[in-house]
């Protein structure tokens, strides 16, 4: 019985971690689906969001809510700026050049953070101070519940946004066929900028939730989780919102269970191992669709 409770506990931890991953994965999936690029720096935007929360909360003494808003503003502005300066000039360049640039941007953000804040981890007050709930011996942390709730809410809002608004439909059109969308009078550049704005805002929220459960931030906070959530997006099927949710949660549960039952050291290795296996057998991801290359 005790073992079973631990297992459920780990499962819920995984679900909560997975929800944060799902939020991050959304940013990847949107940008990949619409701008057709892997925004390597997405994880580092999360890091910037976390630093913003930490600074606004502890130094300026603002309320947590103000900190969250500040973080969203900062990340959105950053995301759009990065797109303008680094990615937009390369819109017709080879995917290799774009990917290398994105890696450069990721490194840039990390090293700037390193120069400003140093490598020491910085404590972040949790913006979510909640009691945990006990159900049948399982400890449900309030933070975990809120994270899961927020993720589901955002997922629904985003789906509605894409399905029902003009901008959302423009995004779908650009992701389907950029050239045709342009011919139909859609402003492709503006749509891609919008995608980066939304993706970065989501990164900000993910950043807040991420540090709320970890309690600290350092310049590398976003890097590895960033890569892992791209993995999640790929496992789910890139470009698909339910896919990001699915991939994020699967990843969170795998990681949490590996840490509990196999080894903390090997948890990341297992996550990447799963990715490689999924990609080998289902290159389009679990919920993605296969595309036919035109010759």
């Amino acid at each position: 019985m005790k073992e079973f409770i631990t297992f459920i506990q780990q499962l819920i931890n995984g679900l909560s971690l997975g929800s944060v991953y799902a939020l991050m994965a959304l940013g990847y999936t949107m940008v990949y689906g619409i701008a057709k690029m892997l925004n390597f720096a997405h994880g580092d935007i999360i890091m910037v969001g976390a630093y913003t929360v930490s600074i606004v909360c502890s130094i300026a003494g603002f309320s947590p809510m103000a900190a969250v808003l500040a973080s969203i503003v900062v990340c959105t502005a950053l995301g759009v700026t990065i797109e303008k300066i680094a990615y937009k000039p390369l819109r017709n360049a080879s995917p290799l050049a774009v990917l290398i640039t994105a890696i450069g941007v990721s490194y840039f953000l990390q090293s700037v953070a390193l120069l400003i804040f140093g490598s020491k981890a910085r404590k972040v007050q949790s913006v979510l101070n909640l009691e945990s709930v006990k159900i049948g011996g399982v400890d449900l942390s309030g933070v975990a519940l809120v994270i899961i709730f927020i993720t589901i809410l955002i997922m629904i809002l985003l789906t509605l946004f894409i399905k029902c608004t003009k901008v959302g439909k423009a995004m779908l059109a650009v992701s389907e066929d950029r050239g045709a969308a342009q011919l139909m009078g859609i402003n492709v550049n503006a749509t891609i900028s919008m995608t980066f704005a939304i993706g970065s805002a989501l990164a900000a929220i993910a950043g807040v939730l991420f540090v709320s459960s970890y309690g600290y931030v350092d310049p590398y906070t976003g890097a590895l989780p960033g890569i892992k959530t791209f993995v999640a997006a790929v496992i789910g099927g890139i470009g698909s919102i339910p896919g990001a949710m699915f991939g994020g949660i699967v990843l969170g549960i795998i990681e949490s269970l590996s840490k509990a039952y196999i080894s903390t050291d090997l948890a990341d290795a297992i996550v990447f191992g799963v990715l490689i296996v999924v990609l080998l057998f289902k290159p389009a991801g679990m919920l993605g669709k296969k595309k036919i290359t035109k010759v």
């Binding site: 000039p89 360049a93 290799l96 290398i100 490194y107 840039f108 890097a223 080894s263 290159p283």
Partner: protein
Amino acid sequence: MENKKSILFAIIAIVIFIALFTLVEMGLLSRQYMGLLVPICVNIILAVSLNLIVGFLGELSLGHAGFMSIGAYAGCLFTVYANLPPFIEIPLALIIGGLVAALFGFIIGIPALRLRGDYLAIVTLGFGEIVRSVLNSLKIVGGSGGLKGINSGMHKSDYYIVAYIVVIITILVISNFINSRHGRAVKAIRDNVIAAESVGINVVYYKILGFVIAAFFAGMAGVLYGHNIGILKPATFDFNKSIEILVMVIMGSMGNIPGSIIAAIILTVLPEALRFLQDYRMLIYAVALILIMLFSSNPTLIEFRKKIFGKKEKGGK
């Protein structure tokens, strides 16, 4: 023309060898720079071999440090357990390290067949991380504490010669490969896979071959590194190491072997010479990556660059 190039290469190689040998033997190099000789060799091998994947095969590998570490551990474990005279032990260790790494190159080459660029980049990154975590938790190779006691008993000045020879072999093998029908097949795959298949190129074979050759030399570089330092720690071979090698390839210009060599030398010596810039190193790398990509791929910026540098630039080979 091909012959002239080979002769030029031989002359340069011999001149550099004699120059280095005299400098080392006469004690004209400071300790600091002596200490850089092997790292320079290691980085040249890494950069040239990664260039084969990135510049010639056109795939982004973010796990080159993974191949390096596998080779390093395999070769150095051999040295730790074998007790042979150094002149037999080190070449054997190099070959073992190279072969084991090549085996993993083969394994990583398989997903390369099915996945497009960015997915493959993540797979190679994941591969590097898997290797590092596994080495970290493997007690037989010392775990995170590292594999200690790698000593072949070879004299330092002899070791420089070994390292130099391995560099020459790497450059020769990879550039000879590139300038043959096999290398042309690899470049054709990079430029247009569908067209390459349509003229009967075996894409499966050449993609995997590219990864195998590159991994083989990265493994040898790892063995050279291990025997120079005497200890191997998994943390050395992290994602940052892979990126560092990538920066060398990009700075030296993709698909350009002399460029990779020069960039590897500069990026090994410069951080030593400019210690005060240590903190800014990653920042400089990052900015360099972005600027090089922008100036080599954005039409407006390419025009701008050509205006400034005039006609010195000519179409690459």
